[in-house]
Amino acid sequence: MMQIINKRKYFYIVSGTLVIASLVVLSMWGLKFGIDFTGGTEMQVKFSQNIPDNTVISEKLKELNLDSLVVRKTSDGTVNIDYRNSNDQINTEVFGKIQEMDKDAIQLSTDFIGSTVSGQLKSSAIKSLILAILGIALYVAWAFRKVSRPVKSWKYGLGAILALSHDILITVGIFVLLGKFWGVEVGVPFIAALLTILGYSVNDTIVVYDRTRENLLRAGVKEDFEDIVNRSLNETLARSINTSLTVIIVLFALVLFGGESIRYFSVALLFGVTFGTYSSIYVASALLVTIYKHQIRAKS
């Protein structure tokens, strides 16, 4: 049997460091928001002949006074042109300029989001995150409503929520770095990924807690709470790893082969699910024990 619980100090250090680092980079640099939240345009253009240099394109578009213009070549031999102007007329003008350079250029895709829409997207993203966290917390408390000894049901909920916040914060931290150093932007899909991580990662935690609950009901008086939790963890270890592994496999396939437009959505899910698995094995159950110990100390 692996002794996981009594090594919890080390896992707390690792997780604590990652969470604090995430919070630090988040407050220092913040996430790089995409047009979903700022309003603006992302245009993907395919040139019929040689692709002009990024600087040549930027120079050509200069007179339109585009706000934070970024011109970037993609791996598919197309050019992405992003800017943050919030009116639709400008899109026609931008493509007009492109056609002056290459009259057979094709506007492969254009996403334009006006400021009213981006405002609403932002508020609905916040709303959905709050709803999801509340919903999951209530759900966990409900799922463990029948357990009260030796740890109260809402404390399972607390443990699960702490573990989930850990997964979410680290994923956010990673995207702060991706945004800072590789220009990766986050939009509505990132929020959807976070919510999916919430919904999925709590599964693992619930399964481990479930086993703890089951073993608690059967356990004799002699067995220590800490041992029961550790035994439950070991009993569920194979399935925790295997269930996540199958999801991680498909997410890897999506990241590698799924194409540009859903790549970072899949990356977010991949990090979230990976850290979710880690936390449900090494952090969530350890938290239960810590809460229990704290409880005993408070009593005595």
């Binding site: 492969l108 989001i113 999801a132 919903g135 929020i191 959807a192 999916t196 496999i249 590698l256 194409g259």
Partner: protein, 577 residues
């Protein structure tokens, strides 16, 4: 029994999701092959536009009405693009009313945008008789002299004994219907044809026998005829003659062309159009038009010079109403041209006569369309994807799905052996069932549109679908280690794993529901499919796997424990301590 149901379900789902498998059985293939997954704009190419409806000038009580007329006005504009299944709807976003236009397969986005939000041109045009194709009488006379000479020459040829009348008719007759039939005119009753023809055909001259050509040229109003009597039946007034003829037509004045020319009076001069029921007794509605000052002046001039003549109304170059009643307004419709009855001096006009209430309302709606019932301005949201990019996204994401599925199958079989094999079959059934659901759903009111994010949701659900099996199988292995016998270990595994599976999936369904509820577009597409996937996978991973295991895994399997797991004495999962 249950097992054969599983096989049947697998077969049906398999055939629906991959119709080519039954390509050799045409009736089934043809039915199934009509089912198609509804692809979103990001996969088939197209665009999605959103406009904010500006209701600030619309009275609160009339907003719903204004929005629905905005929607139908835009629908009509969009229908002109001729794309399949254009989608126009109003959605609420916060306190705003948003007009959404979705079009697949439109090439020029900028042109389309101009057509959607621009102002269509309402024009009032007057008639102009075009005489440019007229031919002077002298020229006509000359042409007819030549035509007659030709006819006389033909008569001479026809009268030569042994000449081939049919061939002559074929080469020369200007009667297109009859010329290839040897000039056959059919059976003609006495007194039923034009008088000149009748006199010649029923000429009592005994020399004009069956089979002979009438010796004189017959001139009618429309041309010259050389006739041949084929057979005669009956006598007296009941006489009937089967005849053949060669026709040389006379040249005549062509009918003058009617053109409609601009008058300068357009939609911008029209202040208001409305249905009036002032003359209740006639129970026929009229349509009144109210023009502005400039329009009033123009109308006065136009009506003065056109009394008794039509004033045609066009919208975007097409007749304003569906004149031929085929449901669409296009070039085939006749111009809508009420006749001007009197000089109109006060800037008011009234259209009356042959109008039903519905027609009058339609006409008014179209007249007012020159300005949209609710202004919409520029788009506030636009997403467009070129068809080739959509196709490429579809291909790459499906490839990702196939690779992911294959690796999960291999993993399950290697790790869980026979159990894994059964789970893999169930996963394939799951995939087929999901594809079948996507294909069948458009027939129901809950049609699922397959978008790129939906594919991501689907692929993710493949990875999640086996989770339940992992839970169950680990439980079965655990029970086996506790020296339970195989069949009861299987039962116990399913029973014990169920609460965890249920609790775990609830949370995914919960977050998906929130995403469907709050999210739009990308997020909704992802969450709906993920949610359907989680529910379906509970069915395949639990019900189908259980049936398959119980059917195939009897006590015989206990002799081969390696089928289930690595055999080892140690009771623990990991020997490390």
């Amino acid at each position: 029994m249950k097992f054969s149901l599983v096989i049947l379900l697998a077969l049906v789902a398999g055939v629906i999701s991959y119709p080519r498998a039954v390509a050799k059985i045409p009736p089934i293939y043809n039915t199934v092959n009509t089912l198609k997954i509804k692809l979103g704009l990001d996969l088939q190419g197209g665009f999605h536009l959103e406009y904010k409806a500006d209701l600030s000038k619309v009275d609160a009580s009339k907003r719903a009405e204004a929005l629905s007329s905005l929607q139908s006005a835009i629908e009509r504009r969009v229908n002109k693009f001729g794309v399949s299944e254009p989608l126009v709807y109003i959605k609420k976003s916060g306190t705003d009313e948003i007009l959404v236009v979705e079009l697949a397969g439109v090439k020029d986005i900028n042109e389309a945008k101009k057509n959607i939000s621009g102002t269509p041109l309402l024009e009032f045009k007057e008639e102009q008789i075009d005489t440019s194709n007229q031919i002077p009488q002298e020229t006509l006379d000359q042409m007819n002299v030549q035509a007659k000479a030709k006819a006389e020459d033909l008569l001479k040829q026809a009268l030569v004994p042994g000449s081939d009348f049919s061939q002559l008719a074929k080469d020369n007759s200007q009667d297109h219907a009859a010329k290839d039939n040897g000039g056959d005119l059919g059976i003609i009753k006495k007194g039923a044809s034009a008088p000149e023809l009748n006199d010649a055909l029923f000429d009592p001259d005994p020399n004009f026998k069956d089979g002979s050509v009438y010796p004189k040229l017959v001139e009618t109003e429309s041309g010259w005829l050389i006739i041949k009597k084929i057979t005669t039946t009956g006598s007296g007034d009941a006489e009937e003659i089967h005849a053949a003829g060669i026709i040389i037509a006379k040249y005549r004045e062509p009918a003058p062309k009617t053109n409609y020319i601009e008058t300068g009076l357009t939609g911008k001069n029209l202040k208001k159009a409305s249905v009036d029921y002032t003359n209740q007794a006639l129970s026929e509605p009229t349509v009144s038009l109210q023009f502005d000052t400039e329009g009033a002046k123009l109308l006065a001039d136009i009506s003065k010079r056109n009394i008794g003549k039509p004033l045609a109304i066009f919208l975007d170059g097409l007749p304003i109403v569906d004149g031929n009643g085929d449901g669409v307004i296009n070039e085939l419709d006749p111009p809508y041209d009420p006749i001007i009855q009197a000089e109109l001096t006060n800037g008011q006009a009234e259209i009356s006569g042959s109008l039903t209430i519905d027609k009058a309302k339609e006409l008014v709606a179209r007249l007012n369309e020159g300005s949209l019932p609710v202004p919409i301005g520029d788009p506030i949201y636009q997403q467009s994807v070129e068809a080739s990019l959509g196709q490429a996204s579809l291909t790459t994401s499906l490839k990702a799905g196939a690779v992911g599925l294959a690796i999960v199958l291999i993993f399950m079989i290697i790790y869980y052996r026979y159990l894994g094999l059964v789970a893999s079959l169930a996963l394939i059934i799951y995939t087929a069932l999901m594809i079948s659901i996507f294909k069948i759903s458009p027939l129901t009111p809950w049609g699922i549109t397959f978008t790129l994010s939906g594919i991501a949701g689907f692929i993710l659900s493949i990875g999640m679908a086996v989770d339940a099996n992992v839970l169950i199988f680990e439980r079965i292995k655990e029970e086996l280690r506790r020296d339970r016998r195989l069949p009861s270990a299987v039962d116990e595994g399913f029973k014990r794993a169920w609460p965890s599976i249920r609790d775990g999936n609830y949370s995914t369904i919960l977050t998906s529901l929130i995403l469907v509820w709050v999210g739009t577009g990308f997020v909704k597409g992802f969450a709906i499919i993920l949610m359907v996937g989680v529910v379906m996978s509970m069915f395949t991973a639990i019900v189908i796997v259980k049936i398959m295991l119980k059917f195939t895994l009897g006590e015989w399997a206990e002799k081969y424990p390696w089928l289930i797991a690595r055999t080892r004495k140690n009771n623990e999962i990991s020997p490390k301590k």
